[in-house]
Symmetry: C2
Subunit: 230 residues, 2 copies
């Protein structure tokens, strides 16, 4: 008897691993599984919803529950505030504000926000240090119309990263990962050759369609984003 949803989930997952249910197959109805495993339908539902969240099965009304014909690897990454990330590694955190300039948004930022025209923004360039060494360099634009208070915040001590996270929750966000060269922009910051490949995380956030901030976080050479699935 399977009386809790995790054991039901694990049983179904095991059947998929054993190919009892193969990609493309339809699984028994929740009610049948409940009867077979000796639990309530809602327990099966809970288990199946968890599997569906992981992308291991697909559920459709009337269509039933299936193992996807083309399974995907669903990977989840938590992107913390940079200070937390560094401290979680047991390293000391340091922060340098390199530039703080009001300016109209440049084209790439305007389009990232989906705006039809440039807006007044605050442009920041800052460096996050781990054990005194450059860890992440951030190039950030903050929409002054949406976040006017930022003008009065002392960003030399507290990073915009932290202030925003605690004071300006977002309702929507896009995240991009890609590779770039250090070039003449970042090479000097990380003291590396301009040809060094660097990992970039770009995030753009909104509150109800009003732009908040768009940030390019360029990580130090060798940085990896790692996660485990399953």
């Amino acid at each position: 008897m399977r009386h809790n949803w995790k054991s039901v989930r694990d049983e179904v997952a095991a059947r998929i691993l054993r190919s009892d249910y193969a990609p493309g197959d339809r699984l028994p109805r929740d009610e049948e599984l409940a009867a077979e495993l000796g639990c309530a339908r809602s327990t099966v539902v809970r288990a199946m919803q968890d599997l569906a969240d992981s992308g291991i099965v697909e559920r459709r009304r009337k269509g039933g529950t299936r193992v996807p014909a083309n399974p995907v690897t669903r990977a989840t990454f938590d992107i913390p505030v940079t200070r937390s990330e560094i401290e979680a590694r047991g390293q000391s955190y340091g922060y340098h504000l390199l530039e703080q300039t009001p300016a109209p948004s440049p084209l790439h930022v305007t389009t990232a926000f989906g705006l039809s025209a440039p807006q007044d923004m605050l442009h920041l360039r800052a460096l996050h240090l781990a054990d005194q060494k450059p860890y992440i360099f951030e190039d950030r634009w903050i929409a002054l119309n949406t976040v006017p208070e930022i003008r009065d915040v002392d960003l030399t001590t507290l990073s915009a990263n932290e202030w925003l996270v605690k004071n300006r929750p977002y309702s929507r966000c896009t995240v991009r990962f890609y590779a770039t060269n250090a070039g003449s922009d970042y090479g000097p910051i990380f003291a590396t050759d301009p040809t060094t490949p660097l990992f970039v995380v770009e995030r753009t956030t909104w509150v109800n369609d009003a732009p908040i901030t768009s940030v390019k976080a360029i990580a130090h050479p060798g940085y990896q984003m790692l996660t485990e699935v399953g």
Copy 2:
């Protein structure tokens, strides 16, 4: 009256956006919220679990529900089979197997799997094409002890990627993203300068601690991994 869990979730999310509940704050107990919003406790539970899954709140027995003091951006990426990815872009898919050699696992693969000694594996190098152009190059190692059937599969037509996904489900997987240079290994394949930065996705999979495959997928220049949150 909020009578379904999504409206409860949205109401709580809205309160967090308005900073009615700020980072570090404790939210009312589920029972109180249920009473306030006029629904059953289980409806509130469903809503809160969804928010907890998104990292928007943290829940602990006896500790209650809180807005995390250090909120994170939780991003989810679906990594499909390469063919599906290309076809989903509306491009034609092509595949070339460049190399297929049995060999003992090299050090970096042995350690990726957490093995104490090298194992017999099948080494593959293959190129995925989108509209005839190089899209992703994969360098893959498959554990022959765990997947002996792979010896009898014709991998010149069907990519190992697809065969494995449909025939060898995994129970555990690690995913890494990082940047690398094209160098002399990948430069010729993508017809680019050796200094070109490339985005790499590295995945290693197991079934119940038995190694299945470890693959480095090197994407074409300019490749981005993109996702939306919220």
